[in-house]
């Protein structure tokens, strides 16, 4: 499967000269299968560029939302295929205990927060609520599971015939208590990440910042490395960079974290334009 990164920033889009290398767009990753199935992971502001890059012949896509915080849905109405008559778009994501996925999304996609409502978009849109079953999309099997992050938040494991990708962009497994990473049966997200060929994981904070933000739902870079190590992944992409971290800050954080972790697996810091061919 081919994995491309269109937005790697967390919380808030952060364009500017000092964030140009890692990118300022919020979470969006595309996954292409060998049979052409298109899966889009989250609809942050990065999804606009993804939509622009797709040829008009692409008339079907599956958008898998981890949760409905603004940095993961803000780009949704700017995804070109949604405005194209004849397109078929499937939106998968979490319901809450009282509201369905469609009703939850309508809160953003309706006036006064946004001038266009979902039903005014030209594409045929189908909503599917997760995460309590395994789904099959084209050549992929998708495993979804709740993970630790405020409000219902889903992590995904996308399995092809020969490789597995795990996507946990907003995740605070260290909040699971003292057993974190030591006892994997008590570690949030472990079942999704175990042995994955590629892990895309929240690494928003430095260790110092994390101590001031425990319970915000995000990981320190060090915690993300510990999670990757415990999950025995083959390749790790730190993701969901804090909007206050410019390129030079991120360079220093990754350099220090690599020295501390001495990982036995591959590590590529997430940045816009990154493309990885994931194979088993």
């Amino acid at each position: 499967m081919k994995v491309e990164f269109w937005g790697t920033r967390g919380s808030l889009a952060s364009p500017g000269f000092d964030t140009a290398r890692y990118g300022g767009n919020t979470s969006c990753v595309s996954v292409r299968g060998s049979e052409g199935t298109l899966i889009v992971l989250d609809a942050g502001t990065g999804i606009r560029n993804l939509g622009q890059s797709l040829p008009p012949t692409v008339n079907q896509a599956h958008i898998l939302l981890t949760h409905l915080h603004m940095d993961h849905i803000q780009g949704l109405p700017f995804f070109a295929p949604l405005r194209r008559p004849g397109s078929e778009i499937h939106i998968w994501g979490p319901a809450s205990t009282t509201l369905g996925l469609s009703a939850r999304l309508q809160k953003y996609l309706s006036p006064p927060l946004f001038p266009v409502s979902i039903r005014e978009l030209a594409a045929r849109i189908h909503f599917h609520e997760l995460p309590f079953h395994v789904i099959e999309i084209g050549e992929f099997m998708i495993h979804a599971q709740l993970i630790i992050h405020p409000n219902p938040t889903i992590g995904y494991r996308i399995q092809s015939a020969n490789a597995a990708l795990t996507y946990l962009p907003d995740h605070e497994p260290a909040l699971g208590g003292r057993a974190f990473a030591r006892d994997t049966s008590w570690t949030s997200g472990y079942k999704l990440a175990e042995g994955a060929n590629l892990l895309i994981h929240d690494s928003q904070y430095s260790e110092e910042e994390y101590r001031q933000r425990i319970g915000f739902g995000h990981s320190s870079l060090g915690h993300a490395f510990r999670f990757a190590e415990a999950s025995n992944v083959k390749h790790f992409v730190p993701f969901h960079h804090d909007p206050t971290h410019d390129d030079d800050t991120l360079d220093r954080m990754f350099e220090r974290a690599m020295q501390d972790a001495q990982p036995s697996y591959g590590v590529t810091p997430g940045h816009e334009g990154l493309s990885i061919d994931v194979r088993g």
Partner: protein, 130 residues
């Protein structure tokens, strides 16, 4: 490999942060976690005992009523919360593993997660001082 449901992981985290004794059992009634304050009341450590099957923890502490009658497992608050999916409360005596007999008051409630998934039950208990 097996992984606990997220609501159960968070329940354990809450228990680890609380200063009052907490018991956490899975839908089968097996004891999957108890916190440090509970260790003091029970007279044993979670790190030493680990998880315990229902048939073990419901009898090992020999729960008995104020009148001195043994309480059958199915009448313990946690087991009522499990079997009836409703809260339960009781006051009774246990023989802790440190050899001390203690009077405890227990409130148990079912743990129901997203989409109505039944995930087990939680008991909060207090050692009575008189």
């Amino acid at each position: 490999m097996f992984q606990q449901e997220i609501e159960v992981i968070l329940a354990r985290h809450l228990a680890e942060c609380l200063a009052m004794p907490v018991f956490l059992v899975n839908p089968d009634g097996d004891l999957i976690f108890y916190n440090e304050p509970a260790e003091k009341v029970l007279g044993q450590n979670y790190n030493e005992t680990g998880a315990m099957p229902a048939r073990e923890w419901t009898t090992i502490f020999q729960p008995m009523s104020r009148e001195g009658n043994a309480i059958p497992p199915e009448e313990l608050p946690l087991m009522i919360a499990l079997s009836k999916h409703q809260p339960a409360h009781d006051l009774f005596w246990i023989h802790a593993k440190d050899g001390v007999t203690r009077e405890i008051e227990v409130t148990a409630f079912p743990l129901i997660g997203q989409a109505g998934r039944f995930l087990g039950a939680i008991a909060l208990f207090w050692e009575r001082s008189t």
